[in-house]
Subunit: 237 residues, 2 copies
Amino acid sequence: MQPRARQSLAEQIVRILVGRIADGSHPLGSRLPSEHDMTAEFGVSRTVVREAVAELRATGLVATVQGRGAFVVRQKPPEVFRIEGTGGSPLAEIVSAMELRIALESEAAILAASRRSAEHLASLAAALAEMDAAIAAGEDAVPADMRFHRGIAEATGNPHFVRLFDCLGDGIIPRTRLPSFRAAGAGRADYLRAVLREHEQIFHAIELSDPEAARAALRLHLTGSRLRLLKMMDRAS
Amino acid sequence: MQPRARQSLAEQIVRILVGRIADGSHPLGSRLPSEHDMTAEFGVSRTVVREAVAELRATGLVATVQGRGAFVVRQKPPEVFRIEGTGGSPLAEIVSAMELRIALESEAAILAASRRSAEHLASLAAALAEMDAAIAAGEDAVPADMRFHRGIAEATGNPHFVRLFDCLGDGIIPRTRLPSFRAAGAGRADYLRAVLREHEQIFHAIELSDPEAARAALRLHLTGSRLRLLKMMDRAS
DNA sequence: ATAGGCAAAGTTGTCTGACAAGTATAGCCG
DNA sequence: CGGCTATACTTGTCAGACAACTTTGCCTAT
């Protein structure tokens, strides 16, 4: 699939309108010019204008009401937060992502230890069992790992932690991003078993409602994960 | 501006296509049915189909090539992380957002204290001076407050902290979301001066390259902010 | 048999005109 | 002044046509 050589007219109009909304020419709450006026201003057909407005609508900048017009409901497109593909070396990215995880998840562990219910515990225990089974089956156990960490976010009782976790996606699990990990063989199962043991320690601290122990276990886990990964990368080269 | 009572045909088609892309009926890399085929399938005009495709394009799910078709380039819309307007009471939202801030910013303070440069310090000092001036001018000092916190994220040297901070937007400053704060009058300047003093303590800890002091100052600040705001809300009612 | 060229078919991009549906405004009447 | 109606304005949809680009199939030459 080749990149397009030239921008469509609709895309050009979108760009212009996005710029105007951003610079305040069309402030929040204001009505854009009518389709008829925009066809005249931009010298394009109504179809093109409509498609441009459809795109603005899809990005959330504009809402249209039949008979009334297109209104600016947002000044800037929503920012999308991602942690992969942001440039820099893969290792630097993984280290950066790990630091972010340490921030989020150690606090989540504190809150989870204070607020967890029996259901949360059951969910975490199920994720651990799943992880155990996946390791025994020679898999990388990423889905179960994700479920465990999401379970901690859920046990915080704070929806922001859950949603941010979901936003980050599986890129937060470093081994998903290391091609060499998939080929590692024997060292891999050892690595995963160590991860599983650390998960269990986190689980027990949460079970015991001990926030500081939970935080310490989580930090140890994430710091240890990082060191182990670095060692594995050395061994691979 | 009233909500629309009924979805447009284009929006309905978008919904169907988003569902199909998500469930794998139209997998990544595949070509959507032609416009002609979709007009037949959905029983709508080509205009409607084109607008629906324009919306898919704008959300990044699809890319179109003239003469070839519309191709799926992404299976799910990028997740947008937001902390406002997620439902629940305003107070519960603010408390939840504050917990998230405590997680992110206390770790950021640790890293900032370890990694800050003279430029980072200068930038933080400038934000403090700005905040001072804004308080003296009777303003709410939100832009300077944001700059200070962003400066800490920058001093971490970890781009993830900066970008996540930018994603969160000014909703993380609780007083931007309390209408009663704007009317508070005398208590407001006192509140802001206390906030400024705490910012200064954070600044000094970072200046001294003392990670634990920075973390403690940051946590104290955020916890204190919450308590003070609760008090102000009591006084207003 | 294979490669190249050309025409036809297929596909998206744009324009035009018309009608449908909803909203806003202005004017008239009680 | 308030209510009703007609008109003007605005978005939503349909249909047809042409432009521009890509793909496919067929024919011819080597």
